[in-house]
């Protein structure tokens, strides 16, 4: 078994129009910029994107939105330092937005990966986000029922990967990445270093290989924050 793919474009070429795609990262930290840019190159459109945010500047998810590939976005916080790309399309009614509280978003994704079709959370009780959701009382306290969230694909950013798909993450770049790897039918990971099976201590694996389908090595991945400070855009 060897899950290492030859290049980014080939890896994402399986993603067809209309697919749902979870994209790891919290802001720029842990965002798989190179995979997102390959997805732009692939031409896939009418995508549903699941991410904590809605992009920043003109690279990564913002670029994907700017290229009009995203029909719908599920996120907790579409505000950013430079959210113009999203805002314009949203206010023009050209992109659909589902706002999910951040912890509920994380837990719904985990539930999708863990085979839990629904769970109860106190988050959102009595707020606009409760509309249409079943409420239940446990031990005298109010809770909302939330459903799992799954996707056709996950694009994630890892630090180390081994050939059988085990992954580690660098610092807070971990965030949504391990959860999304579990919740997608097909998970495509970029990793800064690909090593042989056995080179990652089994105790230190964060995402076991069973959750990963394809790995592409991207030696020195770009950081969204740095690109935006440089005024970068994609494609340019």
């Amino acid at each position: 078994m060897n899950k290492v793919g030859s290049n980014l474009l080939e890896a994402v070429s399986v993603i067809s129009d209309g697919a749902s795609v979870m994209i790891g990262g919290f802001g720029g930290s842990g965002a798989p910029i190179e995979l997102i840019h390959a997805l732009i190159d692939s031409g896939a459109k009418d995508l549903t994107v699941i991410n904590n945010n809605a992009g920043n500047g003109h690279v990564g998810i913002a670029a994907l939105i700017e290229q009009r590939r995203v029909a719908r976005i599920i996120c907790s916080f579409p505000r950013s330092a430079d959210p113009r790309v999203f805002n314009e399309l949203y206010l023009a009614g050209d992109i659909e937005l589902e706002i999910v509280p951040q912890g509920t978003l994380a837990e719904r994704i985990r539930a999708g990966g863990a085979g839990i079709p629904a769970f109860y959370t106190p988050t959102g009780v009595g707020t606009e986000t409760a509309v249409g959701k079943e409420e239940a009382i446990f031990d005298g306290k109010r809770y909302l029922q939330e459903r799992w969230l799954k996707a056709d694909y996950a694009l994630i950013k890892a630090d180390l990967a081994d050939t059988v798909g085990n992954l580690t993450y660098r610092r807070a770049a971990r965030n949504f990445n391990p959860l999304m790897a579990m919740a997608a039918k097909t998970t495509i990971a970029q990793a800064s270093n690909v090593v042989q099976a056995g080179e990652i201590d089994p105790d230190q694996v964060i995402t076991p290989g069973i959750f990963v389908d394809t790995i592409v090595e991207v030696k020195s991945p770009k950081q969204e924050e740095v690109l935006n400070r440089e005024g970068a855009c994609y494609p340019c």
Binding site: M1, R110, A114, G115, D162, G198, P202, V205, I210
Partner: protein
């Protein structure tokens, strides 16, 4: 007839061999405690299977040599195992996320009874005593393909493949395929469908040892195990 069956029937090793032939390269597989563990010995040439154990190891290997055991590294049956390159360790909630979330390809388990609609009874003899379920109920409801390895009949000659189970259920409509000491039987649309049988037993004889109607697959192949298994 029971005497003939005793002579003809496959040994547990042979049943395990047959079950192993359906594994595929890269499959993520969980083997039940006891008899199903034998399947690991018979992986087909060129087929590298990744074994999962409920207590939180993916990619483990054979038992260590006696005296070499590390009792922090065990399988669901509490037997010592070894870690192979590419192995990973995780906690119980993550381990059962793999199971319940549909990430494992195959679970191979033992059985007391299997009904024609795929109900499985394998955790309680229903006779009082001490109940103990472990991970069986999670496995049968989560893993993509649930296969059973079992003798075709009980020690007393009674049917294990039945119209409906009499013992407490492990899961409802969960079994996909049964490897018995006499046959390979799939469960399709609530029916037992015979796919393979050992050569020296007739369909009629097999039916008489089965507690529910056996339907014939498009072709019923001979179930032949290589010498030496």
């Amino acid at each position: 007839m029971l005497e003939k069956i005793q002579e003809l029937k496959l040994t547990n090793s042979q049943i395990a061999w047959r079950a192993a032939q359906d594994l595929f390269d890269g499959a993520y597989v969980n083997l039940g405690i006891g008899f199903p563990e034998m399947v690991a010995k018979y992986q087909p040439e060129g087929c590298e299977v990744v074994f999962h154990t409920e207590n939180g190891v993916l990619g483990f290997g054979e038992a260590p040599a006696p005296g070499e055991e590390d009792w922090d590294i065990i399988n669901a049956g509490k037997k010592a195992i070894t870690l192979k390159p590419g192995c990973s360790i995780f906690h119980h909630a993550d381990s059962f996320s793999m199971i319940r979330g549909g990430h494992l390809d195959v679970a191979i388990l033992g059985a007391y009874e299997i009904s024609q609609n795929g109900d499985l009874a394998n955790w309680s003899t229903g006779k009082g005593g001490i109940p103990a379920v472990g991970g069986a109920m999670d496995l049968v409801n989560g893993v993509k393909t649930v296969a059973i390895v079992t003798d075709h009949i009980t020690k007393k000659g009674g049917a294990k493949l039945v119209e409906s189970c009499s013992l407490p259920l492990t899961g409802v409509g969960c079994v996909n395929r049964i490897y018995t000491s006499l046959a390979v039987i799939d469960i399709e649309d609530g029916k037992f469908v015979l796919k393979e049988k050992i050569p020296n037993i007739s369909v009629e004889e097999l039916q008489s040892l089965t507690g529910a109607q056996l339907h014939l697959g498009a072709s019923v192949k001979d179930l032949v195990v290589p010498e030496g298994v």
